[in-house]
Each structure stands twice: as C-alpha cells, then as structure tokens.
Symmetry: C2
Subunit: 374 residues, 2 copies
C-alpha cells in the first residue's frame, strides 16, 4: 500500500472519523482508524459499538489533485497518534506500508508507526438502497437541535435515551422525552419509508456536529438495526435502539385554563436569573405567578442564599387570570433556548398539569414540561 | 449601607477579586467578597490563605458617574452567587442592607441575599511605604512569563514552587527551577530595595492575568512576609515563601563543547513532533544528534507506537561537530515557547551536562535543562 496525500485533506478525514473512536476500548483494534486505498479514492473509517464514521477522499478536490494512489491496500493505525502526528506535519504526506510497519514521510520528517491487525477490524453494515430518504441538512439540524436535549440521560429506560423518528403521510415526527419533559418537532417531507425507529442521542449529536450547515442534502438509509446518514464523502452509521417508543400523541391533547403570549428572550433571561437561586437538590424550582391580573412574577427562594423575583409584562392573556405553578427552571431554560421565534405561547392547565410551550406561529414544534411540587 | 453602581463596573471588580476566592474553603467567610462603601469609593476584597485581591471603584470613570454612595458601610456576600447574579442583571444595581440581609435591585428584578458576618473577614496586611519599586507592566509580564513555568510543581520542596526575585546594583534577577531545569531573567531597574524574596507561582500567575498589558506602571511594595502589586484601583497581595532560595549563579558558569545557532520556531516544531512519540513514563525523551557534520537529527522512539525522526539545518556551529544527547522534550518545548527572538543559541557540554538555551542577542534570559539517560 502506498499513496501521497494533501495533509489538510487527510487531517480533516482523520478528524471526522476520530469522532467515533473511543480513547479507551476493551478491543484495542477499535482504538484504530482503518485506511483503505483504492485506485480512485482513500477511505477512512473509525468506529465504536454504537457508531461508525466513514470519510472518503477522492483524487481531486476543487480541481486540485489531492491524492495519488501508487499501490492499493488497507491497514489500521492507532487513531490518537495518527491524528496528533498528521496535524503537525508541514506538507504532503507520503504513506508506504509493509506487513508490520508503515512509514509516513513529510518534508524531512520520517515516522514509522506500528500497525494494528487489519483483519480484526469490524465490517460496516450494508444498507439496502430501497429504504432511503433525502433531507436538507438544515432541516435535519433543526429536528435534532429542537428535540435531542429532551431525551433521558439515564440508562434505566434505554429507549428514552434516543430520539424517536416516525414517518406517516409524508410527515416526519421527531420526539424525545425523559418522562418529565418532552419535545416534539414535525417536518413535511416526501418519504417512501413508513414506521418508527429510535436513534441514540449521541449518534444524532455526531451527525449534527459533522453535517451541520456543510452540505445541502443528506441521504438517510435504513435497515432493521442500523441507520446511515450520508453526505458528500461522509457517512455516519448508527445502531438503532431496540424496544417500542411510548405513544406520546395523547399527551398533547389537553385543555388549558390559562394561555400566555410572552417575549421568548425576556422569559429566558428571567428564568435564567431565577434558577441562580434554585438549588439543584430542589429540582431548580422556579415559581410563576400572575399578579395584578396582568403581569408575570418569576421567583425562586433558597433559605441558604436568599430570594430573587422579577416582574415581566404579558403580551397577551387568554383564559383564567390566575396562575401559581413551580417548574424545573433548567428544563424551562433548555426549552426556550431552542425556540427561534420571538414570541412564545405558554399554556397552563393547573398547578399539577404539564405546561405546553410552543413558538407562536409555528405548529411544528411543541414541548411539555411537568410541574414540580413547590 | 446603600449605593447605586454601574453594573459593568461592579461586574469587573467582582471578576477581579473572585480570582482570589476559592470555590471551597474550611472557613466559610473566605467564600465571600467583602464590599466596603465609603463616601468617595467602593472597595471589593477577595482572599484566600495565599493571596488577597482588592479592587477599588471611584465615583467617576472616564468622565461618567458610575457610583453614588448614599450610606457608607461594609458587608460580606457569597462570591459565587454575587458573581453569577450581577453578570445577569440588565442595568444599574441598587444595593441596600440592614443587619442580616441585603437587597439588590436592578430594573424590575429584586433579590435578597443572606450576608456573611463582616467581623470575621480577615484584615489585609499593611505595607510600609518605604520599600517600593515601580516597574512597567510589560516588563513584569515578561519576567513572569519567562520564568514561572520552570518552577517546581511539587510541594516537597516548597521554596522551589515559587519564583525568586533578587535586587542587586539596580538589577532585578528572577529565577525559577525545579532542579531539572532552570529559567533566569534579568532586568535593569532602579530600586531602593535590596535582597531576595520568593513569590508563590500561583500569585504571579494571578498578577500576570489581572495586570497583563492593561496598565503602564505597577508599584511593588514589600514587608517581611508579604508583597503587594498595585496598579490603578487594583491591588494583589501575596504571602512570600519562607526559606533560603538556592544560589544558582554558579550553575551558569560552565564550559561548552558545542554551540549551535538554530531557528527558534523550527526547533520548537521539531521537538513538538518528536515528543508525540515520547511516552510520559520515559520523561518525554527526545534525542538530538549532529549528523554529517552539519545537520541536526531530532528523533524519538517508542516500542509501542513507532519512531519519528527529522533533520534540521544548523544556522551556525561552534566547537566539536559531534553531539548525542537525550532531553525531556516537554521541558525543551516550554523553554523555546517563551523565547521571542527568532534565533536561539543552544550550548552543549557533553551528554551528561546541562544544556544552556539562550535567545541570540539577549543576554538577559538564560535557561538550563539537565539531560536524561537515554
């Protein structure tokens, strides 16, 4: 195996696939990056038990030759050293290998690296080319950003640690919940896929990081156990979570006593200040109250530190002019942070009923937060 | 006690004094910031057992009124909450206190904070106004930056964890060493102070952080146990380390067999690459060798990972054209990083003799690094 490659292209590909390589692993082979040289391309792969990332470098990029393959082949190199090394090489990298060693040369710098056993490296899953959707990268980014934070961080109920994607009647619905709060986002999209599957949050965060705004269209392919996101030379494979995702549609069909229209940014800032004094062991309790029939009082209290309260204007109020509820301030902050619209509609059904938070004029995004006992 | 203050001025002062406030402390009072309101100023103090920082806000800053004191007084507030809170307040802060509580109001936001007992707060040391030096902030910055990294990180020999300042014949000499490497920087400066004292590295790093480039002149005051750095409204007090600092002047009077003039940046990059493969438990060993009578070979080897070697040009060579030495690559990197000059003179006295590293054309800065057995 022998090739010469532009160091920046190699560096970028190593960066991408390294996202899937753990810094510690029971199987040493998974600490490696697999490099496959073919006549017309170089492919790098990094993987762990949940996710695999593949990055392909063609011979030419933007009309410039970036790769020349003299002899095809494949090998596995330790990701950490390869990444640190290539970052610090000044120019083109000339890689050449025999059975047990590989030499990398750049300018007057020569390195010899021990290789890992390429035979041990796991194969990537094969994806049928029937079950495929095309989605704009910006849309996928929004779907992920507005749902993934609401997934559970606890492994006790594994299915809730992912985001559920379901396709029905040309609508994709993404839902995440930790059973105390929920975020749901829909998108109208033509699709031949039907049904529902749940993707681990960590995988979606990788997709969001690597494919954020960089490409116009992402192709999503599916098998029973695996999903792949592909764009340009980059593919992110993820296992799917097993189990049935709870049906959440009934949770959103509620009646509300009081509906407030508020300024999203002001409300976020007010909640942010109030959570300063809301101690962690008390679920970051923040209290909301309507005072003088027309204003919102946001407050929190800690016997140890002190109290904080502030009054905010309400842009519009529908229903009962009374309200007194305690919410987890951290949940409210995270909910408001992903709302891009300037105005937010907050609907209350009583002090023990979940609160519905929606951007005004965008029915595609709905969030629920359960109140806490104050 | 009552005053109204510009929130940005208050925020800046809290930031400065908070540097001295630990996040945990045996004495709860040291988790607080002391605030003293006088007719014409507001003073904030943060401290721990090693360092105290005082920041003073006058009534006017840049022709603008920033402070109005209605009633003088003093109190102590928990640093963490005060800092988090003031950062998030939208405008002027109105602070008012009674015996056990203080209220802070900004716009429609009202907070009440529990106060700590002001009587418990330790007093700042008094500095005699005889023992004083004036130094340019840029000079002090250079002195600190070029020495402090070489101090010992181990508490086993406490005096070596500081930087020794000694004044003699209008020359200030700063030295730091961990007994394996040493950095010495001199500065010509008129001074009425004589003698030598050792300042904890952590205190110097605070001074460097807070007074870096911001002010033109820093005043240094001394007592037997304390040093203070003062500039504009800011004072940093530090305890001095007890004990006698070792005499290092004889270490620098050596004979050398080979002297090389090298490009500082290229050498730094080469050493940086070579340390990639130099495992930590082997002291980051990097080998230097003269090859073909004219070039420098930089290499390192790890049986686990592989080898790296590169050849660099030597700008000038004096003395024996042979050299083979192993050095701690991390020490060499740190030494080269603080050299601003483009060319560096490296002098070798044999494979077991310390290496002298100096910038070309600047006799004020000298560094020694002991070799390691290869």
């Amino acid at each position: 195996m022998e090739f010469i490659i532009n160091n920046q292209c190699l560096n970028q590909a190593i960066y991408e696939v390294s996202q899937a390589v753990a810094s510690k692993a029971i199987l040493p082979i998974l600490l490696g990056v697999k490099i496959i040289a073919e006549k017309d391309r170089l492919t790098l792969i990094g993987s762990n038990t949940n996710i695999a990332i593949e990055s392909m470098i063609p011979l030419m990029v933007g009309g410039q030759e970036v790769l020349k393959v003299m002899e095809p082949g494949s090998l596995v190199l330790p990701a950490k050293y390869l990444s640190d090394l290539v970052k610090k090489l000044p120019g083109e990298v000339h890689l050449k290998s025999d059975a047990h060693r590989v030499t990398l040369q750049s300018d007057t710098i020569k390195t010899a690296l021990n290789v890992l056993n390429v035979e041990e490296y796991p194969n990537l899953p094969e994806i049928e080319h029937k079950k495929i959707i095309h989605i704009k990268s910006r849309d996928l980014s929004t779907l992920i950003k507005q749902t993934v934070f609401a997934a559970s961080k606890r492994e006790s109920n594994p299915i809730l640690t992912g985001v559920n994607f379901s396709f029905q009647d040309n609508t994709l619905t993404c839902v995440a919940t930790n059973s105390h709060r929920l975020s749901l986002r829909t998108l109208t999209i033509p699709s031949e896929i039907k049904g529902s599957f749940t993707i681990p949050s960590a995988s979606l965060l990788e997709v969001h990081k690597l494919m954020h705004d960089e490409v116009d269209e992402i192709l999503i392919g599916l098998t029973d156990h695996t999903i792949v996101f592909q764009a340009k030379g980059l593919s992110v494979y993820s296992r799917l979570l097993e189990g049935t995702y709870p049906n959440v549609s009934s949770l959103l069909l509620r009646e509300f006593k009081t509906v407030l229209i508020l300024n999203t940014e002001n409300l976020l800032k007010g909640i942010d200040r109030a959570t300063l004094f809301a101690s962690e062991w008390k679920n970051h309790n923040v209290n909301l109250e309507i005072i003088e029939d027309s204003q919102l009082l946001i407050s929190s209290h800690s016997s140890e530190i002190g109290t904080i309260e502030e009054v905010q204007d309400i842009d519009q109020m529908i229903g009962e002019r009374s309200l007194c509820i305690s919410l987890d301030g951290a949940y409210v902050k995270e909910a408001l942070k992903v709302i891009e619209e300037k105005a937010v509609k907050v609907s209350f059904g009583g002090s023990m009923s979940p609160v519905l938070i929606e951007p005004v004029d965008n029915p595609a995004h709905k969030q629920l937060i359960s109140p806490v006992r104050s």
